[in-house]
Every structure is written in structure tokens, then in C-alpha cells.
Symmetry: C2
């Protein structure tokens, strides 16, 4: 029987119980979203005593299934005011699953200014005062070192960086990865919720944990093998991502005219070679040293889209150096040096802010005249300033919508106050529908329609045309909600989208683990049910279909080179979530 | 026949037509709200090309009716996202009415960075480039002098200060008063809408204007006399406000335990004598010089609640030095010197920000650690910094909700992102219902329930009890919507609330002017119809009854000295707008 842990920060106490019956079959996002909808007062202030944060491994996490190590975090978002699930790599998901922990809930709020560490071990939960030296601006890189010294290198961690400690709207939660670096539950400001509860970090000590029980080990192994082959055989999941990382998309989106540049005023740049995945690969290879072209964010990852980006001396700068970050700083904000962007990426990880929200906020602030266009040094200084709570840094860490407000802009690329990521919805229509309708605010990972629009994986749609996009955006969001519940990395989709055997293998692994017999229809129903509880929460929180809209300027500002506008009608947009 | 002027800033042209039939019987707020609901796309970005700004005198403006010189400004608000009507004293309302101008609409948006002056004269409208020297941070006091030199002392003006020019969410519109100082359409950021249209100011030259036609001059004069007597005979309207200004309320609210202090953590202060209306009166009287205890914000005002507050040398610092401003800086932010508050008030007028929003934002920023508690010098510097667009100044000029976000606070006193003014809703329950349900975001002037709860004018309710408050808040909002349509100052309410003859005289003046025969039931219907169109706009803009809520912390933080919480249920709150 798995455990369900609740930590009450008001009383600084915890309870461990069996998993409530209704959550028994759920994991990852299915669990976090159901829990938030069940227990969080939808009208609550996200940083007040009535919000709750839940951390849950996916259904397959902790097993030998490839790429199953994602961890989900749920709460009401301080950035968007909606329900939020943000997931991350790192070691915590597998550790918690092996420790038999279905979920860790943090609720309440202590009196006073002290910060705490929640330590989760096989013999129970302890709540300890956080060491003074990891507070008041200490970066995540140092905090991990200090906590490693105190608790041992073997522990997992989830940390609120300075941004989370200060409860900034774009604060992420940083999960320690197998190398002692960080992976982020980036979007939606969940680090601020952790900070509001005065939790500086969660330390997970898996000493004594066993293996995740598998009902039918042989069937599991067989399915796992088919699944792994499906991933490795696919040109994107098995080759492209490992060679060039997600940054492979710079040239692809630039070619497609869907790479938003200069705060979404154009869809193509000339300096794509400065920041492309091909250049990143070449740079890492040339420099040698600690650099690695390919690397996994958690044990058992066989896609290995991450990398270690090193400086000219071969010294590690950052890892998990993603396309969306590089796009935001490199194309949207016009910073033309990959090294400059890498240092900013490191600083963002160190202070603990979502690199997408921050990059979009930076480009918007450049339009607003707060930062010179393309000035990487200025941006680095501002991001570092978040640790000191400097005013301009607070504006940026407030997120894109806040930047738009204080600069008096109407060209503010957000949906539900969350910054629009790296794919222009005018030139890639399907992803625009995801941005508009997802329960989470603009988020490409909620239904990655780039796949069928641009990569031609799983579907073949004309990105400039509306045909078929509504059905596709709906299907992608339903499928994603299911995948986000398994602990699987979203990129497994590439391997199974056009490979029925691969998809069946994913279901077979779940069935073999739990001794059940789900069908693909059941998985579809799971995805739908997750979206439905999320929509229910948002309705209770005051959101309506009128919030499911892209920024108005996209309706009348054509984007080059295709000179297209956002032309879905409100009625068409509202079709997406009808199922 | 009156004129209806439209200025299209996209083409830099204007058209003057007869008043559209449907607007013929409307004035002030009734006209602005109907127009905004009819013509502004509710989903538009408030600072984008599809918002429209409308300026309209009240039904009685320009006549000899006492206190009828208020001007209404309407648009979609950049601060709240709702419909907004903000009204002001000054000379513009009477000038426009005498010029036969029913309304001035500003729509569209020019290309480029140039700012313009719209000049309205009897021979038509001209659109001229704004003088360079009134741009880029020039304060309103200097701008008025420069424009007086250019256009003559006799002109009226509506200005976007530096805050409006930079399109900050708390930017007001400053109307020149008969003394060449300023009166503000303060709330809701309408100055930013003016700025977004690149209109630095509107200059109104009434040369050649006649008198407002009156259908039955004798009846008008007779009614006007009764009305004036009703005002002058009332202890509040005829004496209290003239002697002590609105600041008379410091001691009254402090005694009632409803004076929010230290960012709404208590309802009473010890240093009330430092900032009270009695002290203000004594200080002005002692200092002599340019100081005036009592003064009107427009010609024909007989209540004279304004004053000129002078420094120790008797030199003018500020006028229209209101209770809500003094409360916000003096009690909520703890600045204990009336002189310090006066200099900040002057600076707020000079940069053109709403003094209520700014004061509430300042107190919230003090809780957030951005400004030391009670530090008037720091606040003065920050307010002046708005003219330079400094980051911390931008945060404050972003308004209270923005301050709450960048400081990660849950104790953020706003409704619909507008700062809650000077009366604690836990200790004065009726005003809480107005804050929650008005179409405008937290605003005491939308239904001034202080009257029947504290002043015992027009009603006699226990401020700590729920009994009768729902009906009262509804009636006050309906009545206010009607009064706001007449051009009358809201304070006429004190004179007519308990004086049926005074109220009838107000209706008689309208009837005599227009040759019609409205009854009190018609006036009631007018008020209801105004609220209905405002609610309709807000519904189309995405607001629901779930937005009609006070900040959650007021539900669980009791306020001293009465130790009361906000205890209206959502269902009870939703009753207010049912009529």
C-alpha cells in the first residue's frame, strides 16, 4: 500500500496515511489536478493559507520504464490564478515512488519569518529550520552544495530559489538531478507557493527504499523493450534531440517563419546560426572539457535531449539548455551570443525563475524601454538582481503581464497572464489553439501541436491554415493530460505517435505494473477526466471561455514572412474544449 | 442642437455631428457608460487601438445649478479591465456644456511617437503637435503654465501627466481648475488611455460660447434656490466639509474603528491628531499666506470642501487635499506629518497619478519591504521618480495589485485590481458591499455607504452588522449612478438624502432645463439603467459574480478595535446587484 503524506506548515507537523481510495489509480498530473480541485478553495489567494501544494510521481515513475522519471507539482498558480501542474525531471520522482510515496501535500502557513526544510525519509517526515546560509539570496547551485553536505549527496531535493523565497510570480521549483544540477518545474510560479508556506526546500532521503512492485514483471519487461525501441527508432526522439537538444528547433521554426522575434513582431531572424542547435552541438564539441552534447535529466532517460554547455575553458555553465529559453533571449530579445544566453540561463536556474516566463518578460521589457534590445549583459545583471530583490529585477520576475502593465504596453504576449512561448500562433495555428484553451495559461507543453504542424509527427497539418487544427489541439491536450499522469517525458510522444505498437507498449507497462487492463480508450478517458477537473477548478476560480483568447494585437498585426494574423473566431476557439 | 465630437487619432482628423438620438437624454456617466458599452469592444486591450475615451459634461453642467460642474470620463480601464467612469471638478465641464458639446470621443491611435494636443473651440477641433517642453517628464503644474502661455489663461484643459504619457495603470486625467491648479479624474488609469492615443492634453477654448439653454428659466431658478438651501442647511454639506474638508473624516473613522492602518492590519491609529481635518484647518489658519481653509473645485460650488494647503511660509503646496489621500499616506502607510503628505499629494498631482491608488500601493509596498514604514521622504522621491520612469516608481504607479505581485503578498487590498480606499469593509460593512459589487473595482464613490453607516445621513445602520446593508448598498449605487449623470458633485447627496424638497428640486432643475417631466421613479430607473449597461460591458469583458469579492484575508483576519471580519457570504454579496 502506498503512502500519502500531508505536511501542515501551520502546526509544523505531518501525517502519513494510506492513499485515499479515490486517488489510488492516479499519478502525476491526474493526481495533482484532482487533488487541487478537491481540496483547494478555488477563490483562494494563491499565496495565502488556503492554497495547497502537491508533489506526485507519475504512475510509472520508479520503474525501469524508459523516460518515466518526471515529477508533477500542482497548486493554484500565483502567476495565472488557474489550476497548475508543472512537471520536471531530476531524481525526486523515482525516489518518492521507490519509497512508496504516492504524494506529498504541503498546506497551511507558519507564523513568523522562519524558513524550513521538509525532510522525507523512510522513517518519516521531519520539519527542520532551514540553514541561515541558504536563505536571503543564496543561489540554488550553492544551496544544493550546502544541503548535500548536510544531508549527503544521495538525497533528492526540491528547492525554492531566492525568487521562490521572495514569492515572485515566475518562481520555479528546482529539482536536483542525478548530477547535482537542477531541473525545473518551471511554469506558473509554483516556487512562490512553496515560499509562501515558508518551505525553502524538500529533502528526500531514499535510504532503505525498495523497488516499485510490479504485478507482472515479465510482461512489464517485454513491453518496456518494445517501448524503448519505438523511442530509439524515431528520428526525432532517437536521434535529433540527442544530437542537437531541443534547440534543434531554432532553424526549423525559423525556416517555417514561426520563430517569434523582437517581441513577436516578426517570425524569422537572420542570426539563427548564432543560436541554433547545430551551433550548440558544434560549440560543445569543439570546446570539450566538461561539455556534453547529450545527457539525460533523470536516470533511465534514453532520449537524452539535455546537454552540458561549457565555456571556452571547457567549464560547465548550464544544462537543460532548452530551445524555448534560447529562442526567448536569442530571437525574441535579440541577444546574439549563445554564451551570453547560457550565462543568463545559469543565473535563472540559480535564482529559481522560469526561463520561459523570464525570457518573454525580458523581450517585453525591451519593447517597453526598460532594457536595451539585445543587451545580454544588462539582462544577466537584472536576473542576478532577483536574488537581491532589486526593483527592476522584481518587475522581470513578476512575469510578462506585469512588465506589460508597468510599461503601458498593449503588445503583451500572454494568455491568462502567462507568457507565450517560442512558437508564433499566427504562423503555427494549432499551437495557438493550445495557448488559448489550455487550463494552464499559454503553454506549448499542454498540447504540443508543433508536432503535427511543423515536425509532421502524428499528423500532417498546414500550419498556416485552420483546417483540422481544432480537433488536433483537442486531441493533443487530451493525450498530454494522460501522458503527464504517467511520469513519462512528453517527448515519448514522438516515438509512439505514429507507432501503434509503441503506444500499446506504454499502456501494457501500466497494466503490467498495476495488474490491470486499461485500453487506449481508457487512457483517452483519463486524459479527458484530467482536463475536466482542471476546467472545473478554473470555472470555480472565475475563469470563463472569454479568458481563452490570444492577445488582441495578434488579430490585427500580421507577422512576417507569411504576413498572417490570428484568425480563429471565438466560437471556433471554444470548440477545442468541447468533448 | 448639441454637438457630438469624434477625434480619430489614427487619421488625426475629427468629425462633429448632432448628438445621436439614443444619447440625447443622457449626460455624464449615463452617457459615457452607454457609449463605452455600445462602441468599445469589451475584450479589447485597454491601451490598444480599439479602446475609446469619452468625455462628457453632466446633464446640468454649465447651468447656474450649484455644484453641477463635474465632468465624466469613460473608457475600458487599464487598471481593472472593467468599464470605467471617473469624474472630476475643474472648469472643463461647464465650458464644454456652454459650447454646446455633449461629448468628446477620442478613438484610434496614431503611428509613431509624437504626442498631440487636441484643441476644441467654437469654430472646430484642431489636432496639433504637443510642445516638446511639456513632454518626457514635465509635470502638470509646469505644463499648465506653458499651455496657458500658448493658448491663454482662459482655456480649460484635460491633461495626461507623465504617468499618462507613459501609460501607467494608475495615471489620472488632470483637469485645470478655475485657479489654474488641478482636479483629477483619478481612478482607473484613464490617463493611460489618453496617453495610449498619444494625446498629451485637450485644450478647451470657450471663447464665443453662450449660455446653456433653459426651457423654463423661472422654474429653474426657483428649484435652484431650494436646492442651494438644502445643501447649505445641512451640517455636513453646509458646514463640516467647508470647515475641515473631507479630512474631517480622519477622526470620525478613527473613532468608529474603521480607519485602515498599517496596510489594513488595524482600524484605528494613535496619531490621528497629526493628520486630522481639525489639524489641517488649524494649520492653514495659523500659517496664513496663500492658504485657504475652504475653496471650490469649480465655479458655482457652494459646499467648498477643497482648500489650499500652504507651507510654513504661507506658500501654496496643494489643493483638493482629500481625506482618502491623507488616510492612505497618513494612516495606512504611517506617514505622520501632514506637510510631508501635502508635498507627496502635490507630486502625485504633478506626475498625474491617482492619489488613492498610489497611497494604497505605497502602504502595500511598505508591507512588501520596498519602502520603510512611514518614510515620507522616500515616498516623495519615488512619486517624483514616476516622471523619470524609474523602476521602483513604475511598480508604485502600476497600482496596488502590481505591488502585491512583485512583493509576493497575499494581503493585497484590491477589488478587481483597484486599491481599496479609506474605510475598512470589515468595520463598515455597507461600504464593503459597494467595493465588492461596483462595476468599477473598489471605489467608495460608487455607493458611499459611509453616509448611512457612520454619518447617519440618509439611513441609520449599524456599521458592524449586516442588517439592511444589502438593500442600502444597492440603493446607494443606483442613486449614485443617477447623480453621476447630472454633473452634480456627489456631496449634494448629504443635502438631499433626508430632505425630500431638496431632492425634488434637483429633479425640477433637470425638468426645467430640458422641458421634460421626470419623476423620482424615472431617476431611479436612470440609475438602474446605467448600472445595467456597465454590468453588461463587464460580462462581455469576462467578469462574473466571482470577481465581486473582497480580498480573502479580510475573511479571516479580524480588525481591531472591533475584531471583526468580513462575513458576507458570496450569495449575500450577489444579492446587491439584483434589481
Amino acid at each position: 500500500m502506498m503512502k500519502f503524506i500531508r505536511v501542515d506548515m501551520t502546526t509544523l507537523s505531518s501525517t502519513t496515511t494510506d492513499v485515499p481510495e479515490k486517488y489510488a489509480g492516479l499519478g502525476g498530473r491526474a493526481l495533482t489536478s484532482n487533488f487541487v480541485n478537491d481540496e483547494v478553495k478555488a477563490s483562494c489567494h494563491p499565496l495565502g493559507r488556503n492554497n495547497k501544494l502537491i508533489i506526485a510521481p507519475g504512475l510509472l515513475s520508479g520503474t525501469s520504464a524508459p523516460n518515466s522519471g518526471r515529477i508533477s507539482v500542482g497548486a493554484k498558480s500565483p502567476l495565472t490564478g488557474t489550476i497548475k501542474e508543472s512537471n520536471s525531471g531530476g531524481s525526486s520522482s523515482q525516489m518518492l515512488a521507490k519509497m512508496g510515496i504516492k504524494a506529498l501535500v504541503i498546506e497551511g502557513m507558519p507564523k513568523g519569518d522562519k524558513f524550513y526544510i521538509i525532510k522525507v525519509a523512510m522513517d518519516g517526515v521531519t520539519i527542520e529550520e532551514a540553514p541561515e546560509k541558504i536563505l536571503n539570496g543564496c543561489g540554488n547551485y550553492d544551496a544544493i552544495k550546502i544541503l548535500n553536505e548536510k544531508y549527503g549527496d544521495h538525497v533528492g531535493m526540491a528547492l525554492a530559489g531566492p525568487a521562490g523565497e521572495y514569492r515572485m510570480p515566475s518562481a520555479n521549483i528546482s529539482f536536483k538531478d542525478p548530477d547535482g544540477n537542477m531541473r525545473s518545474a518551471g511554469r506558473g510560479g509554483l516556487g512562490a507557493v512553496l515560499g509562501s508556506k515558508k518551505v525553502k526546500g524538500i529533502v528526500i532521503d531514499p535510504t532503505g527504499a525498495g523497488n516499485v512492485p510490479i504485478a507482472d514483471p515479465e510482461a512489464f519487461q517485454a513491453a518496456s523493450k518494445v517501448f524503448a525501441k519505438a523511442l530509439l527508432d524515431h528520428p526525432v526522439a532517437g536521434q535529433g534531440l540527442a544530437a542537437y537538444g531541443t534547440d534543434v528547433l531554432v532553424n526549423i521554426l525559423n525556416e517555417a517563419g514561426g520563430l517569434p522575434a523582437h517581441n513577436f513582431t516578426a517570425g524569422r531572424i537572420d542570426h539563427n546560426d548564432n543560436i541554433s542547435g547545430e551551433t550548440m552541438n558544434a560549440t560543445i564539441s569543439e570546446r570539450g572539457g566538461e561539455g556534453k552534447v547529450s545527457h539525460g535529466c533523470h536516470k533511465g532517460c534514453i532520449i537524452r535531449c539535455s546537454q552540458w554547455y561549457a565555456d571556452k575553458q571547457g567549464k560547465y555553465i548550464t544544462s537543460g539548455f532548452e530551445y524555448e529559453t534560447i529562442w526567448g533571449l536569442g530571437a525574441d530579445a535579440g541577444i546574439k551570443s549563445l554564451d551570453a544566453i547560457a550565462y543568463i540561463d545559469r543565473a535563472m536556474d540559480d535564482v529559481g525563475v522560469d526561463s520561459i516566463e523570464t525570457a518573454v518578460a525580458v523581450a517585453t521589457a525591451m519593447e517597453g524601454g526598460l532594457i536595451p534590445w539585445g543587451d545580454g549583459e544588462a539582462v544577466l545583471k537584472i536576473v542576478k538582481g532577483i536574488a537581491k530583490g532589486e526593483p527592476l529585477s522584481r518587475i522581470i520576475a513578476g512575469g510578462t503581464a506585469i512588465v506589460g502593465k508597468v510599461c503601458g504596453l498593449y503588445r503583451v504576449p500572454v494568455v491568462k497572464d502567462q507568457g507565450i512561448p517560442a512558437y508564433d500562433p499566427r504562423a503555427v495555428k494549432g499551437i495557438g489553439l493550445t495557448y488559448a484553451t489550455t487550463t494552464m495559461g499559454a503553454d506549448h507543453t499542454a498540447g504540443y501541436c508543433i508536432s503535427g504542424n511543423i515536425l509532421k509527427v502524428g499528423a500532417d497539418l498546414d500550419p498556416l491554415k485552420k483546417d483540422g487544427q481544432i480537433e488536433y489541439a483537442r486531441a493533443m491536450q487530451i493525450g498530454t493530460a494522460a501522458v503527464d499522469s504517467t511520469g513519462m517525458c512528453l517527448f515519448v510522444y514522438f516515438g509512439i505517435a505514429d507507432n501503434p505498437a509503441g503506444y500499446q507498449a506504454l499502456i501494457d507497462m501500466i497494466n503490467a505494473q498495476y495488474g490491470i487492463s486499461l485500453t487506449s480508450a481508457d487512457v483517452d478517458e483519463l486524459g479527458k477526466s484530467v482536463l475536466k477537473v482542471e476546467l472545473e477548478f478554473n470555472r470555480k476560480a472565475g475563469f470563463t471561455n472569454l479568458d481563452d483568447r490570444l492577445p488582441e494585437f495578434m488579430e490585427y498585426e500580421p507577422i512576417a514572412p507569411h504576413n498572417v494574423v490570428w484568425d480563429f473566431t471565438p466560437e471556433e476557439i471554444d470548440e477545442v474544449m468541447k468533448f
